[in-house]
């Protein structure tokens, strides 16, 4: 792998016009990635999902160079018809379209040629990989006191002929004071055997609201990692909802730094897994000042040999008195070979806090099935009704009515 990596990296540096500073930044990140490689189970954060092994067994040899000079054509992309929305389309890691047609143009600034100069300590080698290989990235700034009229849908797509390859993308968002942004991530893959690496950075200024809904419903054989870094100032709210289902492997990592008083973070997720799919949600909610709140709810329905992992961490610093932190996970295992791993972590240094966690897993209740069947429903219908009922309270946590209905439709939850 190392040989290929070096060749691809050199190609990348040569073929795109980076400044010396950018080159230096990329080189440092590249060296770091070379040193660490893909995360493996020796790392606590990755002990249930050995990405190094997962890539080896599902993809094999990866190539890292993407020739963006040829136009990234999408064969087909099904857009959402159910609701009006702004669009951002990413194909093979490159942004091919940004369209805020429903919004006031002077309220949104889109900077397409961003590059990072400062070198921060990264949380894992995948961010290094992203920094080393992603092209220039895009930064979207929502101007003070503006709430977007329509949600922004980010379509993540891959070309049919892009196989055995790694794609990296990064978007930064800045929500200025008193703004509201809804982002829906939709994954529509036309390729197989790719490793897709996504990195979002959100800066939430005072009283801003971010709602991010990630919908991975299309069945595909790709391996994905998505990292959301959210920095929150006073009175800001972040809501993250993840529907984790279609990909072969998907790890969603959410890092929220609650650094302003009365800021709050909500992370809710559904694992709806079949076959041998293996998905994970890893959250780090860092309560750094007084009076902050976090709430997490994750529910899983696991068929066949699927595997779900939820590692939820609540960190409370010594200054963060009056913290309110909560996390709960429930799983239904529909087969003897399915697996649910939960690792709640509470690290608390303040003494006046309210933090709790809970986790349960079990099978579908046969008595409930019998009850429903005795009323004329067949086994399949009874099972579906029970599962939808089980998942409903996570869906009900979605605060945006329009998007809640879209997700209910996608999941076939009837009312």
């Amino acid at each position: 792998m190392e040989e290929q990596l070096k060749i691809d990296f050199e190609k990348n540096l040569k073929n795109f016009s980076y400044s010396d500073q950018e080159k230096k930044f990329k080189e440092i990140n590249f060296k770091e990635f070379l040193k660490q490689g893909f995360p493996n189970r020796k790392l606590e954060n990755w002990k249930f999902s050995d990405l190094s092994q997962i890539i080896k067994s599902n993809i094999g040899e990866l190539s890292f160079y993407n020739n963006y000079s040829k136009e990234n054509q999408i064969e087909k992309i099904e857009l959402i018809n159910e609701l009006e929305h702004n669009k951002l389309i990413i194909v093979d890691g490159k942004i091919v379209k940004i369209d805020f047609k429903f919004e006031d143009k002077d309220k949104i600034e889109v900077l397409v040629d961003q590059s990072e100069k400062t070198i921060r300590k990264n949380i894992n080698s995948l961010i290094n990989l992203n920094n080393a290989f992603s092209n220039k990235f895009c930064k979207i700034i929502i101007k003070k006191n503006y709430s977007l009229k329509k949600p922004l849908v980010i379509y993540h797509s891959t070309n049919k002929n892009t196989h055995f390859s790694n794609t990296n993308s990064r978007i930064d968002f800045k929500l200025e004071e008193n703004t509201c942004l809804r982002v829906i991530d939709i994954f529509k893959d036309n390729s197989e055997k790719n490793f897709i690496n996504i990195y979002y950075n959100f800066e939430l200024d005072k009283s801003s609201i971010l709602k991010n809904y990630k919908i991975d419903k299309t069945i595909n054989n790709n391996v994905k990692y998505s990292y959301n870094n959210v920095n929150q100032e006073a009175d800001s709210i972040s809501e993250t909802f993840i529907l984790s289902s279609g990909s072969k492997f998907f790890k969603n990592e959410i890092n929220c730094d609650l650094q302003g008083q009365h800021s709050s973070a909500f992370v809710n997720g559904i694992f709806d897994l079949d076959e041998e799919n293996h998905h994970e949600i890893k959250s780090n909610i860092n309560h750094l000042v007084e009076n902050t709140k976090s709430y997490q709810l994750v529910k899983s329905v696991l068929e066949k040999k699927s595997k779900a992992v939820y590692q939820g961490k609540i960190f409370v610093s010594s200054e963060a008195q009056k913290t309110d932190g909560y996390q709960l996970s429930n799983a239904i295992l529909l087969s003897e070979n399915s697996e649910f791993n939960a690792k709640p972590e509470l690290e608390i240094y303040a003494d006046d806090v309210k933090c709790s966690h809970g986790s349960s897993s079990g099978s579908l209740d046969e008595n409930s099935i019998f009850y429903l069947m005795s009323r004329g429903l067949n086994y399949k219908e009874a099972k579906k009704l029970l599962i939808n009922g089980f998942l409903l309270d996570v869906i009900e946590k979605i605060t945006d009515g329009e998007i809640k209905n879209l997700i209910k439709d996608l999941m076939g939850v009837k009312e």
Binding site: D365, S368, M373, S374, R375, L385, L386, L392, E415
Partner: protein, 244 residues
């Protein structure tokens, strides 16, 4: 309508019903009384198709071999069990459940399914008759319902599905006297020429309001005595031990 011959049932090699015989004709109301552990609930579970029992013998329901039918097919043919302990089903709206159930049965019978408006009209009418709080229809099925409300909900389901044979498994337990009357009214309203009932109970209290045609005493998995409504009164007076 229902003919049970030589029915024996075991669970984990423990014999529960032995050589059980019973015949119910259209329009008849039969009551089965018996002490705890006599096999009453097993009988209702077997008739409605619960898995986990080793069964021998024969049960015919309107020319159908009951054991060849799945649980839901028995419901389609017109068998209804009012549960002793109705289950709480979180996340499933009561109205949605009732409509799904009614339409599943109608579909299986080749009848026209009800649309939302027709269904709401029907359910409102039935809820009113049974003094069932309409607001509860919008809630999750049996979640947070009191014991009495759960039982009333069973009777509401029964009157909406309009089954040919209704089995009431200790529907009277946990009901106060007003609720008991309402439940009895619900049953009596359904008591038409062809609808039959099998009422399973400990006490004769319910039978004051629903007059049975026949009373059977079940002990140790067998019917030891059958008679008219007067048998229930005799039981109440003497107790199960002395009746034999």
């Amino acid at each position: 309508m229902l003919k049970i011959s030589n029915l024996s049932a075991k669970i984990d090699n423990k014999s529960i019903l032995q050589d059980f015989k019973l015949e119910i004709n259209p329009g008849e109301v039969h009551a089965i009384m018996g002490p705890n552990g006599s096999g009453k609930s097993t009988l209702s579970n077997i008739l409605s198709g619960k898995k986990g029992y080793e069964v021998t013998g024969e049960v015919m329901f309107e020319n159908n071999d009951l054991f060849s039918l799945e649980t839901e097919e028995r419901a389609h043919k017109g068998i209804f069990l009012a549960f002793q302990y109705p289950l709480e089903i979180p996340g499933v709206n009561t109205n949605v459940f009732l409509k799904t159930s009614l339409n599943a049965i109608k579909k299986a019978r080749g009848e026209k399914e009800l649309d939302a408006i027709q269904f709401l009209k029907l359910v409102k009418e039935k809820a009113k008759e049974l003094k069932f709080d309409e607001e509860k229809l919008g809630r999750q099925l049996n979640v947070g319902f009191s014991g009495g409300e759960k039982k009333k909900n069973e009777i509401l389901q029964m009157s909406i599905l309009n089954p040919k044979l209704s089995i009431l498994d200790e529907t009277d337990s946990g009901l106060d006297i007003d609720a008991l009357k309402t439940v009895a009214d619900g049953v009596n309203a359904l008591r038409k020429k062809n609808n039959s009932f099998l009422i399973i109970t400990h006490y004769q209290r319910l039978l004051e309001y629903i007059k049975p045609d026949f009373v059977h005493v079940l002990m140790n998995g067998k019917i030891i005595k059958s008679g008219g409504p007067e048998l229930a009164l005799e039981l109440e007076e003497k107790g199960y031990e002395k009746i034999n």
